[in-house]
């Protein structure tokens, strides 16, 4: 009798011990895999998937740049956990203070890890319209984050502290859409663009290694999401292709040494725009348009069938009244 009781207690004890250690092991955040792409410049490659609990929002390319005195992070991932994992990866390489976080645009896979860096004293930089864009979208993105369930915990909306633009003293007039930040013997040029991929896109250019982070203005492999204005986006890409970079880090996909990914992005956008306008001119209904528009680009991209329909609809709606 006592023997059975002892076994029972033993069993219950072991059970809780193992279960709790399982839960703890599960919740322990592991540093992200990062790759050194230039002197002091590191990138983490996101997966080409939609956000779900399996990837906890780790779907975009994230990066960081280490100067003599401080570190700047470029995009922070789609949840607090991804941001924290990026922070841990940085800490394995350097213990300099992380002073800057730059969000290249409003999409959730780029901004939701901000909260991992702000307590350490990092200031968040974004396009001069990023704040407005986050106000507009934030609550919807948080609701969508329910897709990753419990793993969304600690994910918060962090508004940018600083805008990427130079303004007059009374802040009423925008003088330039560029600013320079200094990490100590290393200057980064941050640029805000006109409406393109979204209404608030920015890029980061490391003057030292000529590394250019384009955010989702350029996409490699994964089909770009059109959330701004297709025609303007092409214009912005025409500006970016003139930048003298050695390495380009697109928002998704592999790093580039030339304009291949940029041209691929531009080609898709041109086809999307041209075919939507063609459909509008010929009175082709949106349902028909969804079946044909940009279909010839299908084999060039990952997630084409998930992303292209939304791109068509949003482009269609934006230009519909003009035809």
């Amino acid at each position: 009798m006592t023997k059975i009781k002892t076994i029972k207690f033993f069993y219950i004890f072991i059970f809780f011990f193992l279960v709790s250690s399982l839960i703890i092991a599960e919740n322990k955040i592991k540093p992200l895999d990062v790759k050194k792409i230039a002197n002091g410049v590191y990138v983490h490659y996101g997966k080409h998937e939609n956000i779900y609990e399996g990837n906890i929002g780790d779907i975009a390319n994230l990066g960081f740049i280490i100067g003599d005195e401080s570190i700047a992070v470029v995009d922070t991932g789609g949840s607090f956990i991804v941001g924290e994992a990026l922070r841990l990866a940085i800490r394995q390489i350097s213990d300099k203070p992380i002073k800057y976080v730059i969000n290249t645009h409003v999409h959730q896979d780029h901004i939701f890890g901000n909260n991992a860096f702000v307590p350490e004293g990092a200031l968040v930089y974004g396009h001069y319209k990023l704040k407005q864009a986050i106000r507009e979208r934030g609550s919807q993105y948080l609701a969508q984050l329910n897709q990753i369930g419990d793993k969304k915990k600690n994910t918060k909306i962090i508004m940018p502290h600083k805008i990427i633009a130079t303004t007059s003293n009374d802040e009423r007039k925008k003088i330039s859409n560029q600013i320079i930040i200094d990490l100590g013997n290393r200057q980064l040029q941050l640029t805000s663009y006109e409406v393109a991929h979204t209404y608030a896109d920015a890029s980061v250019y490391d003057l030292k290694t000529k590394t250019l982070f384009t955010g989702d203005l350029v996409s490699d492999e994964r089909l770009p999401t059109m959330d701004g204005l297709a025609k303007n986006w092409i214009k912005v890409l025409n500006q970016i292709e003139k930048i003298n970079f050695d390495i380009m880090v697109p928002g998704h996909g592999k790093i580039q040494i030339d304009n291949t990914a940029l041209n691929k992005t531009k080609k898709y956008l041109q086809i999307l725009y041209d075919e939507v306008i063609e459909a509008l001119k010929n009175d082709i209904p949106i349902e028909e348009g969804l079946k044909t528009i940009a279909q010839r680009e299908k084999n060039n991209w990952v997630l084409f069938d998930r992303v292209n329909p939304g791109n068509i609809v949003r482009t269609f709606m934006r230009y519909e009244w003009e035809y």
């Binding site: 059970f15 919807q140 349902e287 709606m317 009244w321």
Partner: protein, 287 residues
């Protein structure tokens, strides 16, 4: 030894169930993901909206076309068409639109020209979560025929307005219409009407103030042709921004096509165009 192995086996079984249980808990909160949960909602809805009415299978009466996956939750193109009823003395008098998982599931009542064999309509709706979209044709004699499609998609109801809000408000009520002839002697033409309206549904946030924007949408649309209704809609918050409709109507001998729309602020907007019949085709009348 045997008993020990049994304990080990039992332990693994229990831990797995426990772990799964933890996993399952939060998922249950997102009802729309679960078929049984969605079905339960429809049972309640059906009772609330149609009580004990028998909703017959719509096959051969009404056809609904939707994408399997919403291209964008805020703009889901849907279309339906009807066929002649078996009972030749009966006609379809109304078509109800229901989107089960939207905050306001009952989304609208359509009416069409009574002297048309086949009703066809296309529009865009908001979809808040994975949901069945249903169209229910009600006949004059009191029969109901339903067609339903399942559509994956989400976020349509809280999606921010597409474009500049001030611009949208300034343009509210602007309209556009186009008419396309169908065939040589069909006696039918297709009208496309567009109403510029922000269609705020009360679930969106104002970009400038972070306050919720109060509902402001078109609730009544009537399109008449020579004063006879060819399409009318009483709707709620599920119709997308800038409501757009494509439908067919009998062209007769030409005449005046007129849109009248009323929004929740009581604004009444109208727009009309005169058409003449030339070689069995409708042409815009020269003023």
């Amino acid at each position: 030894m045997y008993r020990f192995l049994l304990h080990i086996a039992l332990f693994f079984f229990l831990s797995i169930t426990f772990a799964l249980g933890v996993e399952m808990d939060w998922e249950k909160a997102y009802c729309a993901k679960y078929e049984e949960c969605r079905e339960a909602r429809w049972i309640d809805l059906k009772q609330a909206l149609f009580e004990d009415i028998d909703l017959k299978n719509g096959e051969g009466v009404i056809e609904l076309t939707t994408p399997e996956r919403a291209p964008d939750g805020a703009f889901v193109p849907i279309s339906f068409k009807t066929h002649k009823l078996k009972d030749q003395e009966d006609i379809i008098s109304k078509i109800h639109l229901v989107i089960d998982m939207n905050p306001v599931p009952y989304s609208g009542t359509f009416k069409f020209a009574t002297d048309i064999d086949q009703i066809e309509l296309a529009t865009r709706i908001r979809l808040d979560a994975y949901s069945k979209v249903r169209v229910i044709a009600e006949t004059k004699k009191g029969d109901y025929f339903m067609a339903a499609n399942f559509v994956r998609g989400s976020g349509g109801c809280s999606a921010p307005p597409l474009g500049d809000v001030d611009n949208m408000l300034a343009n509210a009520g602007k309209m556009k219409m186009k008419v396309k002839n169908i065939g040589e002697e069909s006696g039918i033409a297709e009208a496309k009407i567009m109403i510029s309206h922000p269609q705020f549904n009360g679930l969106q946030m104002n970009p400038a103030t972070t306050e919720m924007i109060s509902a402001y949408y078109v609730e009544n649309i009537e399109v008449t042709y020579n004063d006879n209704i060819v399409m009318a809609l009483e709707s709620d918050i599920s119709i997308s921004q800038d409501p757009t409709f494509r439908f067919n109507f009998p062209i007769g001998d030409g005449g005046n096509l007129k849109i009248t729309a009323k929004d929740t602020d009581g604004n009444i907007y109208s727009h009309s165009k005169k058409f003449v019949l030339q070689d069995n085709q409708l042409k815009i009348a020269s003023q």
